[in-house]
Amino acid sequence: MFLEIEHLTMRFGGLVAVNDFSVNVQKGKIHGLIGPNGSGKTTIFNVLSGYYKPTAGRIFFEGKRISGLAAYQITARGLARTFQNLRLFSSMTVLDNLLVGMGHHGRTSIWQTLFYPVAVRREEKEFLDKAMNLLDLLEIADYAGDLATSLPYGHQRRVEIARALATEPKILLLDEPAAGLNEIETKKLREILGKILDSGVTIFLVEHDMKLVMETCETITVLDYGKKIAEGSASAVRNNPIVVEAYLGREDVL
């Protein structure tokens, strides 16, 4: 078992955002999580990445329990995420944004920083090479020295993904990576998702772009009012009357 969410419930005061939700994400696949606005998708991501402590339920990653760990510990276990509304480090270059993500692999201590700079420089060099490789993978290496927030929107989305990959995750949680992208950029994104998958990283995808979800995800889980209402392949989900019902009369249409 790779990533398992067991009977997750998340309550804020009187509001139940996620209600007894369970899912299994298979290793090496792209797993989609869809649902109308406010159905609890982002909340699930926030619980997964350790921002919220679940009200009830447990989460296991590679057989080990991760619910209750601090966010940075979860990242260290191999879960990384992007944000729906871009959250790049605004005072830093693209490259530095990635280097922050690599930081937790750092082995040099504060004492070495102060008294043995050679070791630190060696480590920095290693990080730098890895970061440049990632930027190459996402085809934004030309922007390495630019201020991250000065890039065009579509490229900032890619920096977000690159930064998450810099933490060297086993699973990548993507929160609406196609939001705000035009058709060409979305096509590019699909290519990138393929490359990431090929590099051995599993993807858990929250997305509103149904075309993208239907074409890339092998398994899709549908959420409504915090509850799982359907799960299965693209065609199975598309033809499920309950799913159609959930989306009918709302702004999102399958």
Binding site: F12, T42, N46, Y51, F83
Partner: protein, 297 residues
């Protein structure tokens, strides 16, 4: 004297000094909730207001000795005007980072402090109470009449403020403006005007606090520093931006100080008050009355 009487006496002293903190705390909270500005010059505005009132009463202007209530009203009004002027100066600060608000408002505090030092001298003076100096003795408890005046007028002002905010048109407009600048603007409320009124009221309350406390404390250009810091701590303790919070916070802070001074050691009074503040914030980061907000991701 029995221990309970001493305790009650200490308590009354605490409520008195707490009323002072509460009025100053209201100055912070009114301005904060109206324009999101943490005004660290508030202590100096309190000092200015004290002078604006006391000089008419104390014969410092052409030897005039106006009656205390008249001097009180003049002081409050003059300080309200000062507040309106300061609002205009601080307008560019609203959108800046906390660090800059801190320093910008402190800069103005410096200016006020030193202008008053130049005009009135660095050495302070004591002020005679308009009421008798002999304590009233009730059930074996001794209380200064001025202390009772401070407590009762402060209470009146606080009730008055609540009624003003809840019932009058301007008060309601101020609340709307504090809640959402854009919506208020769309409704035809001038946000800048509401901010100016908040500043005027906050400064007026500071002046009232200072003039009422002047016969008990000691008037000097540096009197604002400690009271300003404690007023801010009180506002935070109650929940910054909350009107009832400022009042509760001020009273709690005053009583804490008085009790710890009376029963533990006056040397550690300030430290104890701040340690309590720290503990409260650790348990409830939004203060006693403030709303708890969930961090948005």
């Amino acid at each position: 004297m029995p221990v309970t009487s001493i305790f009650i006496q200490t308590l009354i002293g605490g409520i008195g000094i707490g009323s002072l903190y509460a009025l100053v705390a209201l100055g912070y909270s009114l301005v904060y909730r109206s324009m999101g500005l943490v005004n660290f010059a508030n202590g100096d505005i309190y000092m200015a207001g004290t002078y604006f009132g006391i000089i008419w009463y104390n014969g410092m202007v052409r030897g005039l000795h106006l009656p205390y209530p008249v001097a009180f009203v003049i002081g409050v009004l003059l300080n309200a005007v000062l507040g309106i002027i300061i609002e205009r100066i601080f307008r560019p600060l609203q959108k800046l980072d906390m660090m800059f608000m801190l320093l910008g408002t402190i800069g103005l505090g410096y200016v006020l402090d030193n202008v008053f030092t130049i005009i009135f001298g660095a050495t302070g003076f004591a002020v005679n109470s308009p009421l008798p100096d002999t304590p009233i003795i009730l059930f074996g408890i001794r209380v200064l009449p001025q202390m009772l005046l401070l407590i009762s007028v402060s209470a009146l002002l606080m009730v008055g403020l609540q009624v003003f905010l809840a019932k009058t048109k301007t008060g309601k407009a101020m609340r709307a403006s504090a809640m959402d600048h854009d919506v208020a603007g769309a409704m035809g409320i001038s946000v800048n005007r509401m901010n100016a009124i908040a500043f005027a009221i906050g400064s007026g309350l500071g002046a009232a606090a200072g003039i009422l406390a002047a016969p008990i404390v000691y008037v000097s250009p540096t009197m604002g520093a400690a009271v300003g810091l404690k007023g801010f701590a009180a506002a935070i303790l109650g929940g910054l931006g909350s009107i009832p919070g400022a009042i509760v916070g001020g009273l709690v802070f005053g009583v804490l100080e008085a009790v710890s001074a009376g029963f533990i050691s006056s040397n550690w009074t300030q430290a104890i008050a701040f340690v309590v503040l720290l503990v409260v914030l650790m348990i409830r980061p939004s203060g006693i009355v403030g709303e708890i907000t969930v961090e948005k991701v």
